[in-house]
């Protein structure tokens, strides 16, 4: 795989990258022609059988899932689905799912556990839908329950952020053994517009917020928050969907086979060590300092922190 990456780099070395700054990546990640979850699912798997509904309330078209063949194995796939035009976007609720969408995901992940199917998820959402009906149906609980389920799900989970990774709504389908991002994808605690409104008190500062919040794939790989970056065709994923699928296939397969070799091929003990590794992966994330017993004057804190940059 690195060889192929090298080949691609060599071939495209004179071309300008699709996006340089964080804000350009945000725009590219939201590009309407960018491959969406169903494009990846149909492009990467065979015999996709969509499974719909949460068995409680309804079906949410903003979050899709089902079973499919991925390179000779049956897998469970999940993804946030955006639309390409107004009509489709209304049907897909702009890729922002409600509680029933996340409960469908929950049901399907339990299905995966039952039949020992690896889980592949394609993350592309501005966030869970902040509407009246979301609150009435317990969106917070639905997200929380997914996060808990995924943290202990006894099958390998590989997630790719393909476009926008928006906050809790993205996290609730991407607690994974391997969390990958496409080269031009972004993943953030709040959208740049939201961050700008909160911290700059000015929504027009979204580009500055995008930079400051460190939401790009290289930033997050550097922090140890994601596990890998999936390169895109030079002009961006939408300029060459076929090549994008070929690259995504390599990366998904590599990560999945690695998890299978390391863990699931080794029976119950292997699965336990996979869960332990997954726990430790998240356990490590953070940045903190231990103050000396005698609390220093507040003025000195900055100096101490500067002297001991964590991570």
């Amino acid at each position: 795989m690195p060889d192929k990456d090298k080949e691609r780099k060599e071939r495209d070395k004179d071309k300008k990258p699709a996006a340089s700054g964080a804000w350009e990546k945000v725009l590219l990640a939201r590009h309407v022609q960018r491959p969406h979850a169903l494009d990846f699912i149909n492009g990467l798997t065979k015999d996709f059988m969509e499974l719909r509904g949460d068995r409680h309330f309804g079906d949410d078209a903003a979050l899709v899932g089902g079973i499919a063949k991925f390179e000779d194995r049956t897998v469970l796939v999940l993804g946030n689905q955006k639309g390409r035009d107004t009509k489709e976007n209304i049907y897909r609720n702009f890729g922002t799912a409600r509680a029933e969408g996340y409960r469908k995901a929950f049901r399907l992940m339990q299905h995966a556990a039952k039949f020992k199917l690896p889980v592949l998820t394609f993350v592309d959402t501005g966030g869970a839908f902040p509407g009246k009906e979301s609150e009435e149906r317990g969106i917070a609980m639905a997200l929380a329950e997914n996060i808990m389920l995924m943290s202990r799900l006894p099958v390998p989970i590989v997630s790719i952020v393909t476009g926008e990774g928006g906050s809790g709504g993205a996290l609730a389908i991407s607690v994974a053994d391997r969390l990958l991002m496409l080269e031009n994808a972004v993943y953030s605690v709040a959208s740049p517009e939201g961050s700008a409104t909160i911290l700059w008190r000015d929504v027009s500062q979204a580009p500055a917020a995008a930079e400051a919040m460190k939401i790009t794939a290289p930033d997050l790989l550097g922090f140890g928050i994601i596990d890998g970056i999936v390169p895109e065709p030079t002009g961006g994923a939408h300029t060459n969907p076929n090549e994008m699928m070929a690259i995504a296939r390599e990366y998904l397969l590599n990560n999945l086979t690695d998890l299978e070799d390391k863990y699931t091929s080794r029976g119950e003990a292997g699965i336990q060590s996979m869960l332990e590794a997954r726990y430790q992966k998240y356990r490590r994330i953070g940045s903190w300092q231990e103050l000396a017993e005698q609390s220093p004057e507040v003025g000195e804190l900055s100096d101490i922190l500067q002297a001991n940059p964590s991570l």
């Binding site: 902040p130 993943y187 605690v189």
Partner: protein, 359 residues
């Protein structure tokens, strides 16, 4: 933590304002229209004037304001309406309350039952047996993983100021104590510290508490009042949702009960993670609870929210919490739960021991 959270100015005296300046940064500051509107009518208080006021302001004045009631018109300026240190005016029902009575009543208005917010240590005292609390990891303070700077501030300076202002090292206080003599691990979130937002230290302290509770085999109670994930730490904050929830999953696997108490206000990343995966979820009356703040919902969907939307009572009605419990009933209710689980915990412990001997 969603894209949509907007900073909204709040009502109150100068120190109140300062406090909230801090708390609303980077998190959801759930607000109701009535409060937001009356802000415009609130005269600016100069720092000098505010200082002068401090001399005769009762120490608890910070909490004299309504929360979680859409109809309540808050006091224009909390402090001015307090005649002296002995009497305070409930901004919810406007009745005068003798301050001792207010304190004895655990900051619940004796006239109308309105529950005012509590700081973390006040909360510890309300719940645990007297002086039984042993805090752990009190000296953990945040790093600045993003090296975060906006045009007007840095996270480091903000953290230093918040520590000085609140006397807290972080938005969560963790430790062990007893309730009616029964051991309990306790985590209490303090909304005064950057809106109770969850960043790296919050997550780390909580996970360490869970891990110690696992070792000691004691039940855990988490009291959450939080605006969500802390913006200043970006994705580090979002990942604390997974980190903490995973730890609670392990607590559950070990057969140890987890009780979550939601208090005013709890929205965003905390209620969308560990706080909602408890075995028993309780809420205090009238608390604002929800995923997105009400203003955000109104902005995004252009829907007008009905009165009482996203309150504890709304959560109860929609099946999201087990019970709404008055503050004065908290100790007996939690004690009852602990007694109900006591034998279960012991059985699970015996079973675990057998398994480990057999293995």
């Amino acid at each position: 933590m969603e894209k949509l959270f907007k900073r909204i100015p709040r009502v109150g005296g100068e120190s109140e304002k300062e406090r909230l300046e801090g708390s609303s940064e980077g998190t959801i500051e759930p607000q109701h229209k009535a409060q937001a509107e009356s802000v415009e009518k609130t005269p600016e208080i100069s720092p000098e004037k505010a200082k002068k006021h401090e001399g005769h302001t009762p120490k608890f004045s910070w909490s004299i304001k309504p929360q979680g009631d859409q109809k309540a018109k808050p006091a224009r300026s909390g402090k001015d309406e307090i005649p002296d240190g002995l009497w305070i005016k409930c901004a919810h029902c406007k009745e005068l309350i003798y301050s001792k009575e207010f304190e004895n009543n655990k900051k619940v208005c004796p006239k109308c039952g309105f529950h005012f917010r509590l700081g973390a240590y006040e909360r510890v005292n309300v719940i645990l047996d007297e002086s039984s609390f042993e805090e752990i990891n009190a000296n953990l303070v945040t790093g600045d993983p993003l090296n975060f700077t906006t045009s007007t501030e840095t996270y480091q300076v903000k953290s230093d100021q918040t520590r000085a202002k609140t006397g807290l090292n972080e938005a969560i206080v963790t430790g062990f104590g007893t309730l009616e003599g029964m051991p309990l691990a306790l985590a209490v979130c303090d909304f005064n510290y950057l809106g109770g937002s969850m960043g790296s230290v919050y997550g780390e302290k909580l996970v360490r508490l869970v891990e110690q509770a696992l070792e000691r085999r004691v039940p855990l109670l988490a009291v959450s009042a939080s605006g969500g994930a802390r913006m200043h730490e970006g994705m580090f904050s979002l990942m604390q949702m997974a980190k903490t929830t995973a730890a609670f999953a392990c607590l559950g696997e070990a057969g140890l009960p987890f009780i979550s108490l939601l208090v005013d206000p709890c929205t965003g990343g905390v209620i969308a993670s560990y706080a909602s995966v408890a075995d028993v979820i309780l809420a205090e009356p009238g608390a604002l609870l929800g995923f997105a703040g009400p203003r955000v919902i109104e902005q995004v969907t252009k829907q007008k929210l009905p009165p009482g939307f996203q309150t504890s009572e709304f959560f109860l009605e929609h099946g999201m919490v087990d019970q709404v419990v008055n503050r004065k009933e908290l100790r007996p209710v939690i004690a009852k739960l602990l007694r109900l689980y006591e034998t279960v915990v012991a059985q699970n412990e015996a079973r675990e021991r057998e398994v480990s001997y057999a293995g």
